[in-house]
Amino acid sequence: MHTHRHSIYCIVPPHILQSIAKNGQVEQSDKAMHTIVTTEQLRGRRYGIASMNSLTNPAFLGINLPGKDRTIYDAQNGQNLPGVQVRKEGDPPVADAAVNEAYDGSGLTYDLYWEIFKRNSIDGKGLKLDSSVHYQKNYDNAFWDGRQMVYGDGDEDLPAGQQIFNRFSIAVDVIGHELTHGVTQSEANLAYWDQSGALNESISDVFGSLVKQYHLKQTADQADWLIGQGLLTSQIHGVAIRSMKAPGTAYEDPVLGKDPQPGHMKDFVTTTQDNGGVHINSGIPNHAFYFIATEIGGHAWEKAGLIWYKTLTEKLTDRSNFQDAADLTFASAGDLFGKGSREQIAVWHGWSQVGITVTGVPSAPIPPTPIPTSPSPSPIPPSPSPIPPSPTPVPAQGSGCLPQVLGNGGLSSLMKKKVNK
């Protein structure tokens, strides 16, 4: 899935190319501009060189340049954003670890989205990646404010004996999580309450974890599937904030309490707090993604991640719920890898394992039978819809394959079946 890059682009950062195009001698400028334009004609980008002559200005031509454009600000323990600029794209590291973490983490997140999904930044159009660190005092949180990332120092200002959280820029998956909120905002724009909100949170966890896995070049079985590893101080009994592999097990501590995440629909938490438990019930789709990625095997970003990305950018809508996510990821897997493919079967299995049955397809056998590595014959007929055109599903045979569905009629009852909150 790696994207071939123009050789000059690989070596010379876009901001340098822009500078050469603007300030270099005629021949240098022409070469740089040629590189910019040639590269961008392939990819598209929003930003250009505003101060250049409009005839050679990529922005004027509607051309967008791919490339990281990061700026890190210091909120200086206040809440006025963005704060004082302390590092911009291309600058060397500074003495402040939080600044460098925000810079590096947003770069790694950009890399995943660009190199794997061909997405140019959060909005797909090269949006600047702005981050502010040192937000407020004793602020044990990170958030996306709709335009930029914001990181607190955790409890680093408190006496050592009282510290629960380290600074929130310390975990690269947290950075990936926050930036992915921006991607979701640009795409499905999932509502931030109830199941839509939990799905929104889960998608941020999924891609946050993928940023970390891609950086470490880990396969699904090598990954820890933890979200926020390193955030908790050594005084806390816990390994992270959430576990996608085993929701509800990330921490259990006399001060912090117990990780409340469910990993199955039978344990779905109904609450009015936290926008209807968006950080709690996200454990269910998180768990499904883990099952799917590990069943497919290999690097999670290559197939499971691609299925999720396609679903996020092409299929989910603002009010989508868990059932929709199951149905639409199933459809995406069929689109990408073929109906009845082992990848689509893995999606079917994964959602079944958290108590969600893909609409129109019987529950998968649990635990799933290992899937052969070679593609199996498609057990379902080609269809533009992920929902088989029949209400009469044949029970799963325990083979791990999707059941063949025959006949017509009676589908409505299956289609209307939704997960109870």
Binding site: Q79, N80, L81, Q136, K137, N138, D140, N141, A142, F143, W144, D145, G146, R147, V150, Q162, I164, F165, F168, V174, H177, E178, H181, Q185, Y192, N200, S204, G228, L231, I241, V255, L256, G257, P260, Q273, D274, N275, G277, V278, H279, I280
Partner: protein, 100 residues
């Protein structure tokens, strides 16, 4: 005067809360808290702008009860009036200590 404070949401989704009866606090502590409330000017505070696109921010609910009156204030990260911040920080630390 009594104060209930609750902080929910956030990246970790961990709730913190504390209930305070100013009459049961030390004179110094009660005076300090009353000063923060006064400085925040809660009763004349403009309604904060909300940021609907914010994600993972904390939501804060402050309930102040005195005599037969009650005032409930809800704000979220990204839209907190500067004058309210010292009171929120103080209550957050008290809620945090309340976990222990």
């Amino acid at each position: 005067m009594k104060i209930n404070f609750e902080r929910t949401g956030g990246f970790a989704g961990i709730k913190q809360a504390v209930s305070l009866d100013l009459d049961s606090l030390s004179v110094e502590d009660s005076s300090a808290l009353q000063k923060l409330i006064k400085d925040a000017d809660l009763f004349n505070m403009p309604v904060p702008d909300t940021q609907p696109a914010a994600r993972d921010g904390f939501q804060y609910t402050i309930t102040i009860m005195w005599e037969n009156e009650e005032r409930i204030l809800r704000v979220s990260d990204g839209s907190i009036p500067n004058g309210l911040l010292p009171l929120l920080n103080d209550l957050s630390l008290r809620a945090r200590a309340n976990r222990r």
